[in-house]
Structures are given as C-alpha cells and as structure tokens.
Symmetry: C3
Subunit: 471 residues, 3 copies
C-alpha cells in the first residue's frame, strides 16, 4: 500500500502536459546558422571520443558489479572474464563484427569492411549507417571514431553474458562464446537495426541499444544460464538458497561506474555534438535511472521488509537499460515513468527467475533482457513524435506513441523487433552454447565448482591472506 | 619543528610577486575575435557536460571514501545511502530545488521553473543566474545542460551528510533529510549566492561552492552528528576509542575519484569553454590539493609520529574544498597557501571534534564545513582583483583581497555570507532533524547499532564469506 | 604448440598491405579549410584537458593495481605512497621539472620557467617544445594547459617506481626519491626528447612516452628493486616463493582504469584536436592492448597450465606501454603485432626477473621498462613514414621503419635513445638511492618488514575487522 501511495504521489506530480510541450528547445533562431563542416567534425569527434571512453569504462563497472555479487571463490574467474572479454571483442569486432554491422551488403548483413579496410577504405557506412540521424550522413566523424564507438558498445553486449553464467562456466567456453557473439550475432542483428537493415526499414527504432545491445546480451545470457543449470548450492533439496555476494562495496562502485558510463552510452549515440539533443538525453537518462532506483527500493522495501542494496543497484541499472531505446524520443516525465516501471519489473523478475530455478547470480537477465524488452516497447508507448524536438524531426524517428495519441503502429513495430531479435538470439545462443558443450564443454565439474572456479580454472585466489569460509 | 621548516621552505619558495603578475593570460590579441554563438554553444555544452560527468562520478568517490572509513558492519548501509541519495536528489532538484535556486522570484527564493517547466519554458535564468560570469548572460548553454550541471552539485551537498551520520542513523531518516536538504535548503541558499539573491547583491563571492555546496552540506552534517550523538563504542568510559575504517583501499580510491571529480567541479563552474579560465582553475585546484595533502601529511607525521593515511586523504580533500570558492580569483601561490593552511586545519579539526565528543566517522565536518568556511574567507584575503585575469575582469568578481592590498571590504562580505549561511543551516537542520526524530526517529536502537546497520536496516552483509570480528 | 597456432592464425589474419595503405585519412578535401585560431584554441583546450583528467585518473589505477598485487599488511603503505606521490610530483614539477623540461636553455636542459613564471611569463616553450608536431608551434593551448598535461605525465613516471619497491621501502625514502625523479631526472631527460634537446635533434622519436615516461620510471624502479633486495619471504632457502596479491578485484579495477587512462595518454599527446590523428591513435592503442592481453593470456595458459589473471592484467598494460612510442606512426596491424610481442615479453620477463632474484612485487619492471624499451625500438621497425598519415607528414616524425622498407636508420636512432636514457637513469638512480641509503636509509628493518609496513610505517591496518593471516 505504501508503495502505491509513493508511486501515486510521484505520478501525480509528473507535469505530463506541460512537460511534453514545454521541453522543446528554446534557443533563439540565430543559432541555426550553419557550423562549417571542418569545425563540426572536430566537435563531433571530441564528443564521440569522450562518450566512447565513458562506455569503455563500463567494462570496469561490469567487472566490479558482477564480481562483488558472486562468491569470493569465483572472483578471479569473473575478473579474468570481464578483462579478457574486451580484448576478445576488439579482435572479433575488428575482424568481422563491424563489417557485418555497417558494411555495404544487403538488408540482412554487411559484406564489406572486414579488418576496417576495403576497396575504398571504408565499409561505405556513409550510406549504410546514419545512427539515429538516419536521414543524415553520419560521415561527419572519422571512420575510426565510428569504429571505436561501436566497438565499446559491442564489448558491452559481451560482458552482459558474463554475470549470468558466473560461478559454473568454463573459462574457455566463455571466451569462445564471446568471440561468436561479438563477431557474428551482435554485428548481424546490429545491421538490421543500426545498419539500415530490414528492421530499420520496417520502422523499428532503438536509439541507443535497449535491443541491439542489452536484449542481445540478455538473450545470450538467458540461454546460457538455462543450459548451464543452476549452481550446485542454489537449490538444496528443492529449496531456494540465498547465495549472497562477497563484496557489495565493489558492486556499488560498479553500479555507479555503469551509471556514469551511460552518460556516454545514451547521449553519445547522437554521434554528433548537438547541444539540445545531448542535454535532453542526459536528463532523460538520469531521471529514468533515478526513478527506477527509487521504485526498486520501495518495492523491495515493501516486498522483503527491508531496502535491499542489490535491488537498489539493479533498480538503477534497470532504469538505464529501459530508457536506452527511447531516451531521445520521450519527454522527462515519460522517462521517469519508464524508470518507475522498470524498477518494479526488475525486482519481480529477479524473484520469479529464482523461483523458476533459472540461476542468474547477478540479475543480468532481469536487468538487460526484461528491461531491454520493456524499454524497446516503451518507444511505441511514449514517443512524442517528430514534431517536438529539433533533432527528432531532422533525423527521423519513431511515430507518435500509443499513449501520446499515435495509435498502435509504432508499438507493433517495436514488438516485431523484439520478437525477431528474440527468436534469432534464442536460436543462435542455443546453437553456439550447445556446440561448445559438445566440444570444449561449458560447465565445470561438480568438484571444480565446489572448490571454486578460482582454484580450478586459474589456480589462484582473489583475496589471499584473508580467512574465508570454504564452501 | 620539522614541520615549521618544511612549511617555511615551501613558503619561501612561493614566487609571490612574480606569480601574481606573470600569470595573466598571454595569448596574442588576435584570439579576441568573437566566436560565432552557435559554435560557442556547442563548445560550452561539451565542456559543461564533460565537467558534469566528472562531478557525477564524485558520488562513487564519496561512497568509497565513506564506506572504507567505517566498519564492515555498516558498509551496506553507507553504500545504499550513497547510491540512493543521488536518485533522491534528482527527484527533489527537478521538482523544486532548481526552481528555488534559479527561478525568477525575489532576492530570497525562486518561484518559477518547478519540474523544469513553466510559462516560458524556463525559470528565466538568463536573468537570474549568470554563474561567476555574473555580468554576462549564462544562456549560452541549453537549459537542460544547466540543470544537469547544477543537479550533480546538489547531489554532492547531500552526500556530504552521509559520512558524518554514519553507523547510527536510520536509513529512512537519512533519505527524508536528503529530500529536504536538496529540495528546499540547498536551492534556497543557492539562490542567495548563485541565483543573484541578496548575498550576491551584497558582494559575496563563492566561485564553485565552498559555501553553497560544502558548508551547506557540512552544517547539515554537523547538526546531524551533534543530535545523533556519538556511536556507542566511541567513548567507552569517557575515553576516546579509535574506530578504524575497514577498507582503506576503497577510501583511497574514493579520494582519488573525488580529486578527479573536482577537475569538473571547479573549472566546470566557468559554465563556459574559456581556455584561460579553465586552465588557471585546473592548476589552482590541483596545487591547493597537493599542498594541502602534503601539509596534512607533515602535520600528522609530527603530531601522531607517523604519516596517517586517513589524514593524507582528508588533507587532499580539505585543500580541494578550501580552494573551491577562490580558484578563479587567486594566483597559484595563493592557492598553495590556502591548501597548506587547510591541511593544517583539517588535522586539528579532526582531533578537536573527537575530543569534544562530536563523532564524525569520516571527517566530513572537518573537511567540508571547517575548510569550506576557511576557503570562503580566503576569497577576502587572496583575491587578486578584477584587473589581472581576463575572465575575472569581464565577469565581475570579488574585490582585491586583504593580503593583496584591498582592505577588509571583501573579507567582511565573505564573513557575512559565512554567518548568514551558518545560522540558516543550523536552524534548518535543527528543525528538520528534530522533526524527523519526533516522527520516524533518527537513531537506530542500541541493539541494532551493536549488530550493525547492515543487519538491522538491510538484513544483509557486505562481505559475505569472510571471517570478521563481530563487535 | 597451441600458442604458435593461435599466434599464427592472428598473424595470418592481419591485413598488412591493405591496412598500411587503406588506413589513411579519407575526408574530403573541403575539410582542409582553416579553422580560426581562437576556435582551434578552445577545441585544443577541451581536448587536452579531457585527456589530462584521464591521465590523472591513472593515479587511481596504479594505486589499485599495486595495492592489490601486494599483501594486506603493506596496503596502507602502498596506498599512502600512491596518493602522496602526485602531490609531491605537483610540487616538484611546478618548482623545477617543467622548467628543466621545456624551458629555454640548451640542448641538455631548460633553464627558465621555474615556478611556471619568468621574464616573459613563459618558459618560451613555443620555441622549445612542439610535442609530436615538432615542426609546428604548440602554443595553440594556454601555458597552464600544457603544464597540467605534462604534470600528469610526470606523476605517472613517479608512480611506476612505487610498485617495484613495495613491501620493504621506507616511506620517507620513497617520497624523497620521487621528488628527485620528477624534479630533476624526468625533466632533464624529457628535455632531450620532448624539449627539442639533443636526442630529438638526432632523430629519436617517442610519441607519448614509452621512453620518456615508462622507461624512465622503469629504470628507477629496476635500480631501486636491485638495491633494496628481495622481500624477506621471497626466496626462503634459495627457493622461489609465490607471494600472492591480497586483492585481485582492485588490481583488475586498476588495470581497467589504466587502460582508460591511456586513451588520454596516447591520443592526448597530439596536444591538438586533430580528428584523424586522435581516432587513429585511439584504435592503435586499444588494439595493441587487446592483442597483448590475449597473447599474455595464451602464453601463461601454455606455460603455467592456467590462464593467470595477473598475467592478463600485466599483458594488457604491457601492450599499452609498448604502443605508446609508436601509436601515431604505425598502422593497426603493426600495433597488434607490437602488442602480441609485448604480451609474450612481459610473461617471460616476470619469470626471469623472479629467477634472477630481482623482486618486483607487481611486475612494474617487466611492464614499464622491458616493454618501454621494446616499444621504443618498435618505432624503428614499424613506422610507416611521413607520406601516409596527414598528421605525421605535417608534424614530422620518424623515418620509415626497417620492416616497412626504410632500412636501419630509425632503428639505430631509437637504440641510441634507449641506451642514452638507460645509462643516464642507471647512474641517476644509483646515486639517488645510495644517497638516500646513507642518510635516511631505504629499507625497513627485518622486524618491521615482518610486521608489515602498515604497522611499522603508519601504525594502521587497511582492513580492520577482518581476520587475516599474520605472516
């Protein structure tokens, strides 16, 4: 009840009408004079490089988040996975992922630009990819800036998997899966949506990757966790055992690093130093995260009787994932509502997955898959349509959302994308995980799991010199 | 004695006269041609967004600093407070704080711009707020950039309180206090100083917030610590017990994150991509932090017989807080002297507060309140006056300081601001803390405190699997 | 064997010819119109300040990396060293280091600009220093921006020493050595190479400091570790004892922070917001790090039987150090090969140094000295020559490298620089360490070492409340 009151108060406070109208840009018209392109390129480059470094830093965020949420006996393994995975992603995305995603080809896949090279020294992405500014040429930054920005995104998708399969996966299986995910699946699906492929052509919109990055990683994580089965201590005699994380200080640090990183992830996806767009997206991103953190706190407080730190953390992340698809297309009040709902979703998703015996040690599936889907659909509910924001109108974008009077069209487009990506990733993940299972194997032995992956996979421990429980 | 020598040597080395004169900008005159406003807006936006993200990251700095300085049995609680507080600040500042601070109104409070909206889609802050460029229009960045930059500052004020009240405050009391602090007090006092309110009109200057942010947070922390009383183990039988922090690795990390964040906090407060101003403020900020860290190290080495890591950490932070008010108005040598003094102040402040049985587990009162006051007064001592630096002359700023031949005028202005903010914050904090005490209560029970706030407030522990002392 | 296959596959994949040619800039010619200098100064300032803050953050990276790799009983000491060393560097570089490095003088040392001041308010570095744009005037950023950027580099050199001498050096000896290193040796050697001194005039090139920063720090670390001798527990009865780090979570965090910091270190060394140059250097830096991390992982997996997290970490760092000298002069495939080799070098260097009883607790000598030398020589092997990249041609740079058909000239230039800096740093380090040994002493007593430096040097422990092993 308290929560209904709390949410009711917040909802009542949201200045829906006013906000939707008043938040348009307010600069005087004389700002519209054109910036010379050589200057614009420098501005865009600085902006995108800055955003790229923030997104790169998310690797540290995921490493700390996931490691802290698991047991000390798996810490070295998770750290090693999260460190090497970006090196693997760099290799795979350079060799093939970027070409599949943005190279000239057909509406299903890119076929040029492998190794960041080709006949005309470019995967011709001036044609194939326009970011959210789909109607514009995105060539206003150097090719290698585009590559680096897209690479750090690809790395994010791979790192999402790490947490869900933690504490029982073989190190070698994870590394091979990551190569396949980044080099093949991520690039291909990305082509459909950001490479002007068939989903883009059908009117599916995902501004910064609720689907492209988070759902793709989330589906791979989900199938991996399903195939691996739960950790041996998770369901003793059919009961659910809590397996608390060993270091919530670094998990909280990880959450804050990820929150920081999202200020590159979402506003950086403009790929252009557009002040009004950047500013708007910073604020929608932040308010969704805040609202989601608060709603997850309230829900967990009601539901469990105490404000649960792991739920506050995952609540914040849920809001960030959820607003990623729509951050450029919705007003601040809608962003907060998207966040409030994601904060509720993530708590119940964690609870239900646990009851269904799908063991996800860090909550990655709930955060990235469930809220990635929610965020993708939210585009069809809350988009204000192309008449409100300057960047939206110029660049193209989703139709007016259902709740803003636009009917079901955009929502159905979004649903189509969710389903297409879902089926594809289920199929791909099943195939790759099973192939790995029949070759190198994906799960460590029961003895190795009992000893902990740090000893069995790395012959090391993370916290030498401390006395620790040994189960 | 060694310290007198050390300080003497440093002081003798400072190139007072030369520095004060020679540090003026040295660019050729042809740089003065005007940058077109549409380009300037992009430059300013990139700069302020960059600075904003650094300041946002200070949330992680405070979380690590404070958590490490406390006991392991309070870690979850401090982490949860420091994570949720930015979500709360976002909500409160969006609803009301920004409007109170920068909205049109009177010289006491802003009355428009709630929910970042209003009749003309702006709290009309082009008139009311000019940053330190008080004579200029600060409208050269989008409204939402201004909002986000000011929001991360507001969040900082709230997070300061967390450390001082740690290990005995109720979670719910802290969250409600934070809402009131950010939504009401911070915004109102900020209006007086940065919103062209009565203190600004009387000639009080605080460049980046030694008073607006640090003293405001510091007073709230001080009153909170006073009302809560010391932790139950702090003064056994009237003796002072040392209660060492449980993780100085993350505390040191926190200090370095905060140092990093201050490179957004101070230079970002230009709100404008002015190269000479940014460069100067980077250097004064860094040199004050360095000098303060060194002087606190030397003082603690002499006083305690060993270089105390917690004093090195708080020494660096003390210098950063102290130079915040004056970083744009003083030369490098003065910045170092401000830092040297803050490093001394913070050590003795920690010692005396402990003797007076005001229990501040992390030293927040000494760092933010004591050095915030010192830094605010230092403006009246060291300001070079409006004839030296380009940005200073154009933008307006404090009168020449006492030690630079300007008499007592500016120092008295600063003292007036310190007193006005002090009395106001003492009153506000007393009222709000006492109101909370009579409703939800502010202090956990003795049993809960003994068990640790992690168990009693969150039913969790931060370091599961490690063997720990249980007192 | 597996490794030969792995490396062979990677090598076979590298698109040598295509890459080398195709990676040239591809912007249309109309971008070449000149940006007005007042705008260029703002762009450069924002870029360099951004890069500076990333490099500053490397202090946190080193602190976490080194602390985690040592025992818990030395944690406070290492944290204290790594925090205070930047304050000391700031002082020393402001007083003298910057003047020695970039001030007018002769080809051996700068003689003006102490305290960042002088007759014409500048060390006249417009003439003396041109960054890699040696033929251009680097005066296109304010003096204090140059100072701050160079200061954070100087701090890096000092912090390298900290790890190699950890767990047995006196705190006071380390602080005094750091003052001398940054104030005297770093500035002088830097003058030879970046201050247009004799090595620069002879044609030695080091883009971002494989020699200037990493080898200089590495030599000081090497001599320090040699003179100090190994830790008392390292070689019991002539056997090699593993002394595992106490917190690999923070070490991994440190590695990722350093990786992030290098995106300022290398691309920032353009000192100019040149989009093509920045983009190229981002990518070469990242790909070298990735390749090196992967090769170190593979080598350690083969050699030790398990993928060793400490080797993954040091492998990444080895690649970053190695590509630092050449990142602007080589193509992506070469950068990867440089990284692959550094990843192999670092593993065997760690193994051999250990066998030779040179005790380097964190691997600093292997990472910074060995791979710093390798990277410096690699300029003479892989440089594409001044006809390929726009920034290279305009700014001057190394001759075509040996493997690209340029003969031995550049390689010999590089070798000369390696030897000159090596002999100088050996001499300087021996003198300073021995002088300190005869005055304050450099090594703690056996009892103090047994108790741990935290207790003996600081009377504190880092992890109060945890039960820990006490040897």
């Amino acid at each position: 009840m308290a929560i209904s009151i709390g949410l009711g108060v917040i909802l009542a406070l949201l200045p829906w009408g006013v906000g939707a109208i008043a938040e348009t840009g307010s600069f005087p018209a004389d700002l519209d004079s054109t910036i010379p392109q050589n200057i614009q390129v420098v501005l865009n480059t600085i902006w995108v490089i800055f955003a790229s470094t923030l997104v790169f830093f998310m690797n540290a965020g995921f490493a700390m988040l996931e490691t802290g949420f698991c047991r000390h006996k798996s810490a070295v393994n998770i750290l090693a996975k999260n460190l090497i995975v970006f090196a693997l992603s760099s290799l795979a995305f350079w060799i093939a992922g970027f070409a599949f995603m943005f190279g000239d080809g057909n509406s299903f896949i890119g076929l040029h630009g492998f190794f960041l090279s080709g006949p005309d020294n470019s995967p011709s992405i001036g044609d194939a990819y326009d970011g959210i500014y789909r109607s514009l040429d995105w060539a206003a930054i150097p090719l290698k800036v585009k590559f680096f920005f897209q690479l750090v995104f690809a790395g994010t998708a791979a790192t999402i998997v790490s947490g869900a399969v933690a504490e029982r996966i073989k190190f070698v299986a994870f590394t091979l899966f990551s190569l396949g995910l980044v080099g093949l699946a991520y690039g291909t699906i990305g082509h459909w949506i950001w490479g002007n492929g068939w989903l883009a052509q059908l009117g599916f919109w995902d501004f910064a990757g609720s689907t492209v990055v988070h759902s793709v990683g989330g589906w791979a994580a989900f199938i991996g966790a399903l195939l691996l089965g739960p950790r041996r201590d998770k369901y003793p005699k059919g009961q659910i055992a809590a397996i608390p994380g060993h270091n919530l200080a670094i998990s909280t640090l990880g959450c804050l690093i990820l929150w920081l990183g999202w200020f590159g992830f979402n506003p950086g996806s403009t790929l252009s130093a557009d002040p009004e767009a950047i500013a708007h997206i910073m604020v929608t991103t932040n308010m969704a995260a805040s609202a989601s953190g608060l709603s997850a706190t309230l829900v967990s407080w009601i539901y469990f009787g105490k404000p649960d730190l792991t739920m506050i953390i995952n609540g914040v992340l849920a809001g960030l994932v959820a607003v990623t698809a729509s951050c450029a297309y919705v007003n601040i009040s809608s962003a907060m509502l998207i966040g409030i709902i994601s904060g509720i979703l993530v708590v119940f998703s964690v609870v239900y997955l646990e009851q269904w015996q799908i063991d996800d040690p860090v909550g990655a599936i709930s955060v990235h898959l469930v809220c990635g889907i929610w965020g993708t659909l939210a585009v069809g509910l809350f988009s204000v349509g192309p008449e409100i924001y300057t960047w939206y109108g110029e660049a193209g974008g989703p139709l007016v959302g259902l709740l803003f009077g636009g009917g079901y069209s955009q929502l159905l487009n979004q649903l189509l994308g969710v389903l297409a990506v879902g089926f594809t990733m289920i199929g791909f993940s099943l195939l790759l995980w099973l192939a790995l299972n029949f070759t190198v194997g994906i799960r460590v032995s029961a003895d190795e799991e009992l000893a902990g992956l740090d000893l069995s996979e790395h012959s090391m421990e993370a916290y030498s010199g401390f006395y620790k429980e040994q189960d």
